[in-house]
């Protein structure tokens, strides 16, 4: 069935949804808005599922050239879509998780005013994400890349009246733009060296020239990394993700957990041909990934807001994916992306359901004892907590373990150290996840009578209750997926046959087999499980057995605790080092001193000096006839002198 798959339809339907809701949504009833939004997400999911079923019979790589976008001189870029194994997985994740979250947000956003605006922006996001994933050249990917940044800006700033939301939105967009700056420079280098931006041509040229090692390829790779860190919230450009929690929870789930933030990883895997040629770039990715994982995990330990904890855990898990790409284990990176999409979306949605239940309350110190009150949310969240902490047989265990294993056996020198830090972070992950788990669901309820701050305005005050079914079904589905999601990639060592690695091998190249063989893999898996258990045990000890312990511990290491609580003061550091001086210079030096001083001042100076000369000239007119006659006589004498002296001297009158 090699007939055209109409790939262009996949992004276009959500865009149509956006247009319909955007333009006419205000006058539509809520139900109509919901149906339009859901259909606009369902159709691409169905189409992708259909493609997935017939996938084996496709001739790959399948590209679809819709129209030329820009042609100027010898530069050419067009609207072209491509499909291969990697795209298929990403499509499945985006449409699948996207559709579930759409259903969830029907319930979650029911009472919000501007309901239609939310779904319009959500559909817009789907359009840009699908364009990003399906793009066949860097420029179209950049369209998606900036587009998702825009959608996240709109959705973070959805609550118009909240200043903090607007600030967070602006921060997200600007930091993304810094990442896009890197992406742009990479594209310019590509144009300079390859003359084109389409993936197939670039990769063919790279393949034909084995002698190209590093040099400009490293430069391109490094700039791509800068772009990726911007989008996937890695050090140093991760600062916007925690603030992005200002947006509604479904947004955090969809954009800031499952799809948008993984765009960086997808881009690295898509362009792995370039990265393979520069070991330096690969090791930078690995180092950045590991460092971010550890760094975010440590901050996550002490956070009190439930969504902030999940945000830092997302940054940390993305660190793992970057680590996987860093050690050239691209398929395991994608595998972790897949599983992470399931359980992280589940965590956010269940957290949303918890917040919904507590009518807007997000501070864990005020929660507790919800196990009985919201059982289904409890059980689904438990599945997710076990998955993320890396307990077999849940999804998280297989994908995270695969990454650690690949790190351990990776040829480049840092492998062992990275593995160890990864392991330690896995322990921290299980600790803060179970901390969250205990604080939210166990112990007695610490909710004071008046809920502290009701910033969402949608908490209907009558007691804690389980969310409606429209919110719970996605939770259940995602819980199932988090459970069985991992089985797709069970390594041979544990009896599975790593379907996902084989499935992705045509795109990411064959995963290299380790010399030590299976026993080593089993040993490492065991080690990681024990670390997860230790993490759980400590969390159990501190938050279940002796609830007073954390306070004492915190008072003993006061300095470290406040350091972590205030997120290493990174935001303040950026503000002081970059933002404040920039504003200061532009306000006083540029605007004050230079613009008014030099430019306007210069003009005025010329004006006044001319007027001064004019005054000088005017003084001759003293009004007295005799002085006039004097000037006349002098003029006459001067003229006569010039005639006589000027006899033959062509002085100046050129």
């Amino acid at each position: 069935m090699t007939s055209s798959l109409h790939l262009w339809l996949i992004p276009l339907v959500p865009f149509a949804g956006f247009l319909v809701n955007g333009l006419l949504g205000r006058r539509f009833p809520k139900a109509l808005v919901t149906t339009v939004a859901l259909i606009a997400t369902l159709i691409p999911f169905v189409q992708v599922a259909n493609i997935a079923l017939h996938f084996s019979s496709l001739t790959l790589p399948y590209t679809e050239q819709v129209a030329t976008w820009i042609t100027a001189g010898n530069f050419h870029a067009d609207f072209a879509f491509a499909l291969d194994q990697l795209t298929l997985i990403m499509l499945l994740v985006v449409t699948g998780v996207g559709f579930l979250i759409h259903i969830y947000s029907v319930g979650y956003m029911a009472e919000e005013e501007g309901y239609w605006r939310f779904f319009a922006y959500l559909n817009l996001f789907m359009f840009f994400m699908l364009t990003l994933v399906l793009a066949e050249n860097f420029l179209l990917m950049f369209v998606g890349w900036e587009g998702v940044g825009l959608a996240s800006y709109l959705l973070i700033g959805f609550y118009l009246t909240k200043d903090s939301a607007a600030n967070a939105g602006k921060k997200a967009f600007v930091v993304n733009r810094i990442g896009d700056f890197g992406f742009l420079l990479a594209m310019f280098l590509l144009i300079a060296h390859f003359g084109t931006l389409s993936f197939s041509e670039v990769f063919n040229q790279v393949a034909q020239h084995p002698e190209w090692q590093g040099g400009f390829l490293t430069a391109i790779a490094l700039f791509l990394i800068l772009g990726a860190t911007g989008k996937s919230a890695q050090i140093p450009l991760y600062v916007w993700l925690p603030d992005a929690m200002e947006g509604p929870t479904p947004v955090s789930a969809l954009i800031h957990a499952a799809t948008m933030v993984t765009a960086g990883v997808y881009m690295v895997v898509r362009t792995h041909v370039i990265f393979d040629r520069s070991p330096f770039a690969l090791s930078t990715i690995a180092v950045i990934g590991t460092a971010t994982a550890l760094f975010a995990a440590t901050i996550g330990l002490v956070q009190t807001d439930i969504k902030r904890v999940l945000a830092y855990s997302t940054v940390s898990q993305l660190g793992y994916m970057f680590l996987a790409c860093g050690v050239a284990a691209y398929s395991s990176g994608i595998f972790h992306l897949l599983t992470h999409a399931f359980f992280k979306a589940l965590l956010f949605l269940s957290a949303g359901s918890v917040i919904h239940a507590l009518s807007g309350e997000q501070d864990m110190r005020v929660m507790g004892g919800l196990r009985k009150k919201i059982p289904i949310t409890f059980w689904t969240m438990t599945m997710a907590v076990f998955a993320i902490s890396g307990f077999p047989p849940f999804a998280g265990f297989f994908s995270k373990d695969e990454i650690l294993y690949q790190a351990f056996i990776s040829p480049n020198g840092l492998g062992k150290i990275l593995w160890f830090i990864g392991l330690f972070t896995a322990g921290l992950t299980s600790f803060y996840m179970f901390r969250l788990w205990y604080l939210t669901f166990f112990g007695e309820s610490r909710a004071q009578a008046t809920t502290a701050h009701d910033d969402h305005g949608h908490g209907h005050g009558h007691g804690v209750h389980e969310s409606s079914w429209v919110m719970l079904t996605p939770l259940v589905i995602l819980a199932i997926l988090s459970g069985i999601g991992g089985w797709v990639g069970v390594p041979e060592a544990m009896g599975g046959h790593a379907e996902i690695a084989h499935f992705l091998s045509p795109v990411t190249g064959a995963a290299h087999e380790a010399a030590e063989g299976r026993s080593m893999e089993l040993l490492l898996a065991a080690v990681s499980v024990t670390v997860a258990v230790i993490g759980w045990f400590i969390a159990h000890l501190m938050y279940f057995a002796k609830p007073a312990l954390p306070a004492q511990l915190a008072s003993k290491v006061r300095g470290l605790y406040s350091l972590l609580l205030n997120k290493y003061w990174v935001d303040e550091l950026y503000g002081a080092v970059v933002v404040a001086p920039l504003l200061l210079i532009s306000r006083y030096v540029l605007k004050g001193l230079f613009d008014t001083g030099v430019i306007t001042g210069g003009g005025m100076a010329i004006g006044y000096s001319a007027q001064g000369l004019g005054a000088l000239v005017q003084r001759v007119q003293s009004g007295n006839i005799r002085s006039y006659a004097g000037w006349l006589a002098l003029g006459a004498a001067a003229l006569l002198l010039l005639t006589y002296v000027g006899f033959g001297t062509h002085l100046l009158f050129r």
Partner: protein, 504 residues
């Protein structure tokens, strides 16, 4: 038959309209409706051009060449090529938008306003279509007068000073431009652009290089002031804050940039090559300088003025890379920025109509009151900062990629401008639209976007999307003319490198 008189009709329909406006009685909105009719008619006529434009052909089309004055050999010579084609259509398109924008804001002296407005239209179209340098200089100077008088009449508080400053800033360098023109006439014996171009390219050896250098500098300075390029931008923020919206829309950018492309690159390729490093440096500084000051501007009109300086510096950057891609990007970016810049100015204008102040500090939370206005602002803002599917991105990308190819470090510095533009634009949107409704906004109920304003802005917004997505239709015409220019600059560089070699 129509083809050889279309340009004259397009140029002089507004003048005829102006004369009729002068005679109309001052009853009700008669003058406004009539001016709208005239501007729509002009726009329709300009649409005739792209319809009958032969894309493959190089050189000028729709040419009209009649002798005008014999003793100094001056001809009435009109013609357009790929570059000026779309600029004429742009002026046509902006006409009706301007009239709609100033429908309600201009209540007193409407007759004078619309008379001078139509005169300004003729002057601008004249600049783009005239190929005889005397005629060109005529229209170039004429375009100053209506603008200056309108600024003086309708300035908010420092109208007269701003008018004089604007006039002087452009008039003084154009006086030197006239010296250059006459000097060229003394050498070539004709004012015709094409003949002068041939003459200069054939026997560039015989003319004293030093004198030619000064003449090209005079040309460049006169045009750079109008763009405005970085150090010569003193007049722009005053004019923007004083001029009525309809005038501020058309004042910056196109005349200066078009003239640099047409005359500096056309007549003095090797001199432009020599001055290129300086101009690129000024352009990049302009980008960053404009963006940084826009970041801290509190007055809306000055904000848009510095943002315009930033964006137009992109175009100057594109010109002086001398690559076909860059030049295409420049002309396209010029088209798009004029469109989006005009739309943004109109938006500021209608906001001023409602709340009566341009100070951003007083605004806040307008989005809750005027959602449709907020959407229009959002889309225009996105197009200005270069969101990919909108029109701002295509030009910017082409310029930056070509600059990066020629001067990587300057290219990288210019790309920083992309970040800053996002920062200050979003800052503006947040100050005005998001957050709690400010005291000014809260207790004043104003209508959202009315039909009249909708007619002015919605076509512009749709065009932003269409220009962003379907750019080959426009670039096809531009690249034809531009590749000719790039070749003769490249050819000149051959001679240039030799002259540089000798100099060392």
């Amino acid at each position: 038959m129509l083809n050889d008189s279309i340009l004259s009709t397009i140029t002089f329909v507004p003048t005829v309209g102006a004369i009729v406006v002068a005679l109309l009685p001052r009853r009700g909105k008669l003058i406004q409706w009539f001016t709208l009719l005239i501007s729509l008619l002009t726009f329709a006529l300009t649409l005739h051009l792209p319809a009958h434009f032969q894309y493959g052909q190089t050189g000028f089309q729709f040419e009209e060449n009649h002798p005008w004055i014999t003793s100094p050999n001056i001809h009435y010579h009109l013609g357009i090529d790929g570059i000026s084609l779309w600029l004429v259509v742009l002026v046509g398109f902006l006409g009706p938008m301007a009239v709609l924008a100033s429908w309600k804001v201009i209540e007193t002296h409407t007759k004078e306003f619309y008379f001078l407005f139509l005169l300004q239209q003729t002057a601008m179209i004249g600049v783009f279509v005239s190929l005889d340098m005397f005629l060109y200089y005529g229209f170039w100077e004429l375009s100053l007068v209506p603008m200056a008088i309108l600024i003086a009449m309708f300035g908010r508080n420092r109208g007269p000073q701003a008018a004089i400053k604007f006039f002087l800033y452009t008039f003084l360098p154009s006086a030197l431009l006239l010296v250059g023109l006459i000097w060229l006439y003394a050498k070539t014996g004709t004012f015709d652009f094409v003949e002068t171009q041939q003459y200069l390219s054939q026997n560039s050896g015989s003319i004293a290089p030093q004198a030619l250098w000064w003449v090209s500098l005079a040309f460049l300075v006169a045009f750079a002031v109008k763009v405005p390029v970085f150090p010569l931008h003193g007049w722009l923020s005053d004019v923007f804050s004083e001029a009525p919206t309809a005038m501020a829309m058309v004042v910056a950018g196109k005349l200066g940039l078009y003239s640099i492309i047409r005359f500096n690159l056309g007549l003095f390729p090797s001199q432009s090559r020599e001055v290129a490093p300086l101009m690129i440096a000024l352009a990049v500084i302009g980008i960053l300088y404009g963006a940084l000051i826009a970041l801290v501007q509190q007055d809306m009109k000055r904000f848009i003025a510095f943002s315009t300086i930033g964006h137009l510096s992109f175009c100057t950057l594109g010109i002086f890379c001398f690559t076909i891609v860059g030049l295409n990007g420049t002309v396209y970016q010029l088209l798009n920025h004029e469109l989006s810049g005009a739309a943004m100015l109109i938006l500021f204008g209608i906001l001023y109509e409602r709340y009566g102040t341009y100070d951003m500090g007083l605004y806040g939370g307008v989005a809750t009151r005027l959602p449709r206005m907020a959407t229009l602002y959002l889309i225009t803002m996105l197009s200005l900062i270069g969101l990919p599917i909108l029109n701002g991105f295509v030009g910017e990308f082409l310029i930056l990629s070509s600059t990066f190819g020629v001067h990587p470090y300057w290219g990288a510095a210019a790309t920083l401008g992309v970040i800053l533009s996002a920062a200050y634009m979003l800052g503006m949107i947040q100050k005005i639209f998001y957050g709690q409704p400010s005291q000014l906004v809260a207790n004043k109920t104003v209508p959202d976007v009315v039909a009249r304003e909708g007619f002015a802005l919605v076509p512009a917004v749709i065009l932003m999307l269409v220009l962003g997505v379907a750019s080959p239709y426009w670039i096809r015409a531009i690249s034809g003319a531009v590749s000719g220019l790039a070749q003769n600059v490249a050819h000149a560089t051959a001679t240039f490198t030799t002259t540089v070699a000798e100099k060392r």
